[in-house]
Amino acid sequence: MSRLMRIAVREYVAYVRTVGFWLSICLMPMGLVAALWAPGLIARQTPPASLAIVDLTGKGLAARLTPSLSARQPGSDGTQAIRLVPSPVPAGTDVAGVVAALRPYVAGQRLLPDGRTLDAAAVLHGEDAGERVAIDVWTRNPANSAIQARLSEAMADVLRRERLEKAGLDPAALSAIERLTPDVAAFSPSAAGGRVELRDQLPGFIGLGMGILLWMVVLTGAGMLLNSVIEEKTSRILDVLLTSASVPEVMAGKILGVAAVAATVLGVWLSIGAALLAATQPQVAGDLVAALLHRGLVFYFAFYFVLGYLMYATLFITIGAFCETTREAQTMLGPMMILLSVPMVFLTQSLAHPDAPLLQILSWVPPLTPFLMAARAASGPPLWQVAGTGALLVAVTGLEMLVAGRAFRAGALSSSRFDPKLFFASLIGRATI
């Protein structure tokens, strides 16, 4: 086994033995499941909100609202169901009087005749003699605006229907008109069968996913590499390592080891996701595989992914060599995180506008290239752009690794706090260590 591989294996085993590694493996799928199921579960388990409507308009609007408000089932979109209850106060003509009578119920100071609490009350009243209707919604939970939105939507339907009926439209014809929706189909010359299907959109989603995946790997790897180098530097193990292996071997071994850790974690997550997808949506899973294999897209992603990881990992391991403590490393991580947030800003945009001129230009900026070129995969960027950005990325990463080797040695053997002067001197090979 080569020295590089020995260092990589040691690095890998050191992380695999930690509790955090296994927590990472287990918690993410559990968190994902929770994120998917929790909103619906909460909505289903939450009792319907009791709503009383007091209609002061004299037009019988409350009765017309009832079907619409009771129609929606809870849970599908995470909204709370509504249970209409008879108003505990008689409808008068005075809004202020009605509100004053309702307030103790909404505040929970008084209970409904059935012994339950009133969650919200809506007072319908006309603002003038015309058709305008105002709804004053009194609710126990001011943060929950769902009831207000449902009432507004339902009342708008009622008023629209009323106006159209007054204009002479038959209610049955009106219902038929409301059901009218066009059958829209999308076609594209780049779609396999002409008609755009999910599988034709998959490269875009995969590209976005790869960009986010790279971002996650870089973020995870950054912390691991920084901590690993700092630990070895403060305990002077790095001195022993550097007398046993070359700087490129030490750096590459650590980068490879951490990459293997990240790959293991992501591999487990992706395998679980793929297994679930294959079990529940075999067609989509098949399309996904086909999309990845189509025109060697998997190699396209792999190329940018590997180079992107190498570029950022080299940067982080070099910075780690210049830090004496984790606190120093954390302060250095701040600017790095700002740098890393830039690709995320453009990543989502590249799905909707993959060929936007700004994104095309930014694709040539090496720190952004791996993210943006991956996300632009769906639009099939011109070959010259792929070759050009790829060549530039290879050149910049290669140069970075060359310079980083010198800097890493200088940083690893220095025993002072982070010194920008030493850092920059080491980059141009003028550091005295």
């Binding site: 086994m1 020295r3 002077r236 001195d239 007398t243 046993s244 053997l413 260590i433």
Partner: protein
């Protein structure tokens, strides 16, 4: 005898600070060489240059035939001054890993690790995490990790620091055993007694300069021999003794005087004793104190060294 290590006019500057200047010495194969000097003398800087961790500002190095340690790293064993091991590794894993980096196969590295640990009384702890070992045990593990690949040149930077007397004695045994199997040992220390017991050659450094290079006996010869006389001796009579200079008299609690003096170069101690008897001095104790390496260091460098 072949030369394992040769330094010619080595210097090292850190900005305006000259850590090592014009340092030349060589160590023959199979020798134990003590690299001595107070803290800040330039010992660690020199060791780092030999290992290739830092480049010399001037001069030439020859390590086992290579210009620096990097080209022959698998033939060198190194114990740094500041100790450190992966705390969550077991001794077997740590020694196996570092020996593996020096070119041993994984199986062989682990086999040797177990053998060494057993041989040095750490067999019971070989599968415990290093963080649970005592400082002395961890230091021993680190030393063994530098030796497991049976290097031709062993460089130990302050190997005795932090060890209790028992472990210091064991370390001396290990160093002698290394030389006995033909390895060259260069160890730095600021404690002269270890060098006196172990070394065939010592290189003394002070302020980045070499002040002595040679055998321990030669170094001792640079320091004066002292004579101690006790009895009913007057200061005048003591000062009149031939070959005795820098005489200091101190009264003894039990009565009488203790006279301490430096023997002039070439003056025999017996001549002083004979003269004392001839003068009828009442001598109750006579002791010739041969100089120690510590004394030689003070003479050679003009400074006291921290114990």
């Amino acid at each position: 005898m072949q030369t394992a290590l040769k330094l010619e006019g080595i210097g090292k500057r850190y900005g305006d600070f000259q850590a090592v200047r014009d340092l030349s010495f060589e160590v023959a194969q199979g020798r134990i060489c003590g690299f001595l000097g107070p803290n800040g003398a330039g010992k660690t800087s020199t060791i780092r240059m030999i290992l290739g961790l830092v480049a010399p500002s001037e001069g030439r190095i020859d390590v086992l035939g290579a210009p620096d340690g990097r080209a022959v790293r698998s033939r060198i064993g190194f114990l740094p001054e500041e100790r450190g091991l992966y705390r969550r590794m077991t001794p077997v894993e740590a020694i196996g890993f570092l020996a593996g980096l020096k070119g041993l196969s994984t199986g062989e590295a682990r086999r040797r690790a177990r053998t060494l640990l057993e041989a040095h009384g750490l067999g019971h702890a070989m599968n415990r995490q290093i963080r649970s070992l005592s400082k002395g045990m961890a230091q021993k593990v680190q030393l063994l990790s530098a030796l497991a690949h049976e290097p031709e040149l062993v460089i130990l930077d302050e190997p005795f620091s932090g060890l209790d007397p028992v472990n210091q004695q064991e370390l001396e045994g290990i160093i002698r055993a290394l030389a006995a199997r033909g390895a060259t040992v260069l160890f730095s220390t600021h404690v002269m007694q270890h060098a006196e017991r172990l070394c065939e050659q010592v290189v003394l450094l002070s302020g980045g300069r070499k002040v002595f290079d040679g055998a321990v006996e030669q170094a001792r010869a640079a320091a004066p021999r002292r004579l101690v006389l006790e009895g009913a001796i007057s200061p005048e009579a003591a000062s009149a003794l031939p070959g005795l200079v820098d005489v200091v008299c101190a009264p003894l609690a039990a009565g009488g005087v203790q006279v301490t003096g430096v023997l002039a170069p070439g003056a025999p101690a017996q001549a002083v004793l004979r003269a004392a008897f001839e003068q009828g001095l009442d001598i109750t104790r006579f002791e010739l104190k041969e100089p120690q390496l510590h004394d030689a260091f003070i003479v050679l460098t003009g400074q006291e060294i921290a114990a």
